[in-house]
């Protein structure tokens, strides 16, 4: 079970604005999904090793060097920004 207030809290952590109606809806839907996935609590896995990936690869390092030296790349990427100023991304104000 996940309450409307909990949904409100998660949505804020996830940076998603929800209307009152949506909070209601997601609280119901997420509760039924959580009910289902709660079946994992039946398993005693205290001694089981946990896995985060399947290939067993360890950290793979490379030199910290730029490979792409194309001078146009920066412009191609900046062109995708909703708002920019010269060579910078434009960000809404953070401090008053």
């Amino acid at each position: 079970m996940i309450s409307k207030e909990q949904v409100e809290h998660i949505a804020e952590l996830a940076r998603i604005e929800l209307s009152d109606k949506e909070k209601e809806k997601f609280s119901q839907e997420l509760s039924s999904i959580l009910d289902y996935i709660n079946k994992l609590s039946q398993l005693d896995l205290a001694r089981t090793e946990s896995v985060s990936q399947v290939t067993g690869l360890k950290n793979i390092f490379r030199k910290d060097e730029a490979e792409n030296k194309d001078p146009n790349t920066a412009e191609e990427i900046l062109r995708l920004a909703p708002a920019r100023k010269g060579k910078y991304f434009k960000v809404p104000k953070i401090l008053d």
Partner: protein, 479 residues
């Protein structure tokens, strides 16, 4: 020859014999796609790119140079795979105007091999869904029955191949997104072992599960494309190098097949079950030995998936902030001055659809303080049990060579029929376990139920992708 009869090899031979030019072929496909646009399988056609590629190949043939295997072959790419200079939306409003600044590794390899890219196919938003109904650009219709879904999330790629709008297509599979739509549309869909194909330039969903793979009408086409796109890539550190490895697997008629009893329980449609049993009997007739096996943690796989995938989704999709690229809240409220937090909240509320928001919130919840142990950590341990289930079946316990299961519990359902998110999740119940274990798995068409195609899934041991394809070819030859 008609579009429905085309395969990579047939086109290759026709191009050499000059029965048609690559340009004529590409135009034939575009005409067909446009005539049947109600299928809604393509989000965008890359006509200029395709015609330019075709022209180069025609010139080469005119110079009497022999084209390579994939040269001039028209294929489609799921719209979460980047093609430089063209829109890549991932089926989301938040990326509706995003122009890819580079080629995905698979795109680069296909271009270098001379494959012609026809366009980008429709998908559930950010590949999250099992019906393509979560696309911000409308659902894909199943070409075999337009009142039904094509499956998802690679529904556009599956429909494009089934409708003969492309010879083959690439899809991506996180929990079944290649295999399930392939089954629903009556085509073949192959999810390689995790680590076989680079995801560089694939828009990330759940990074410990995402894998790119081919969708086509025959196993030979699947093999040609897989062998073109696979391999180690410096831009995706999870890829492995298998170029030196020799395949010692020889398909004999004495293969040992495991049939896990957990895949034939109460959830399966009884007619689907009958068809799968008939298909298994065909292997027995060949001389293969069938054994019932047990994969006891199967019942927990979907729960594990719906913790791990959303957790990774919530992290991967944090990048959509309306600042670096994509939809921004400032587009819809130009006059209103905003602070940064309000900007994030509005951008992500308006840019993401319901299923994406649901999974981001679910992932945020299972990773949040106080819940992480009960959900995320528990799921990572249960994932180990699922991996061990398969390993035991392939090695110590029954030593089967491969495993056969249904791909889906039912045939394609009606558009609009599954409104409840959990009911939709259950569509992937038979495809999720192989994803969690990173195993190669292919869905092959096998019979119909009420005129709707269904698929049988062949799962092999980790990194035995070629073996799975051999077995698929064997099945193709007897069905």
């Amino acid at each position: 020859m008609e579009l429905k009869d085309f395969s990579i090899n047939k086109i290759h031979k026709s191009l050499i014999k000059k029965e048609f030019s690559a340009t004529e072929l590409v135009k034939l496909y575009f005409d067909r796609i446009k005539k049947e646009e109600e299928v809604n399988d393509f989000l965008m056609l890359t006509e200029n790119l395709a015609l330019e590629q075709a022209k180069k190949i025609d010139e080469k043939i005119l110079r009497r140079e022999k084209p390579q295997g994939l040269e001039g072959i028209p294929i489609a790419l799921k719209d979460n795979i980047l093609v430089k200079g063209y829109k890549t939306t991932a089926g989301s409003k938040i990326l509706k105007d995003y122009i890819a600044p580079y080629d995905a590794t698979v795109t680069r390899k296909l271009k270098e091999a001379g494959a012609i890219i026809l366009g980008k196919t429709n998908l559930d938003e950010f590949a999250m869904g099992s019906s393509t109904e979560n696309s911000a650009f409308g659902p894909v219709k199943n070409p075999l029955d337009q009142s039904r879904v094509a499956g998802g999330s690679s529904g556009g790629s599956a429909a494009a191949v089934a409708a003969h709008h492309a010879v083959a297509a690439l899809g991506s599979d996180t929990g079944g997104s290649i295999r399930q739509p392939a089954a629903f549309c009556g085509i073949i869909g192959f999810k390689p072992s995790y680590g076989m194909v680079s995801r560089y330039g694939l828009i990330a969903m759940a990074s410990s599960l995402d894998q790119i793979g081919p969708m086509a009408k025959n196993v030979d086409d699947i093999k040609i494309i897989f062998n073109t796109i696979k391999g180690k890539d410096d831009f995706d550190a999870t890829t492995l190098d298998f170029s030196q490895e020799k395949e010692d697997f020889i398909v004999t008629k004495e293969l040992k097949i495991g049939v896990p009893k957990e895949y034939f329980g109460s959830g399966i449609d009884k007619d689907v079950k009958k068809e799968i049993e008939k298909a298994i009997a065909k292997f027995v007739n060949l001389g293969c030995a069938v054994q019932e096996i047990s994969l006891p943690y199967t019942d927990y796989a979907l729960a594990v998936y719906y913790i791990i995938a959303p957790a990774e989704i919530s992290a991967n999709l944090a990048r959509y902030d309306g600042i670096k690229y994509g939809f921004s809240s400032s587009e819809e409220s130009k006059s209103k001055p905003q602070d940064l937090l309000t900007h994030y909240l509005y951008t992500r509320a308006k840019g993401f659809g319901d299923e994406v928001r649901r999974r981001i919130m679910l992932g945020t919840y299972v990773l949040s303080a106080g819940y992480r142990d009960a959900y995320y950590n528990q799921a990572q341990k249960a994932r180990k049990m699922i991996i061990d289930d398969f390993q035991k079946a392939f090695s110590s316990y029954k030593k089967v060579d491969f495993i056969l299961t249904p791909t889906t519990p039912t045939p394609a359902f009606k558009i609009g029929e599954r409104k409840d998110p959990l009911a939709m999740y259950l569509s992937d119940i038979y495809t999720v376990p192989a994803s969690l274990a990173g195993l190669p798995a292919i869905s092959m068409p096998c019979g119909t139920v009420n005129h709707l195609p269904i698929g049988i899934q062949i799962i092999g041991p980790q990194f035995r992708d070629q073996a799975v394809l051999e077995v698929a070819e064997l099945f193709e030859s007897i069905s």
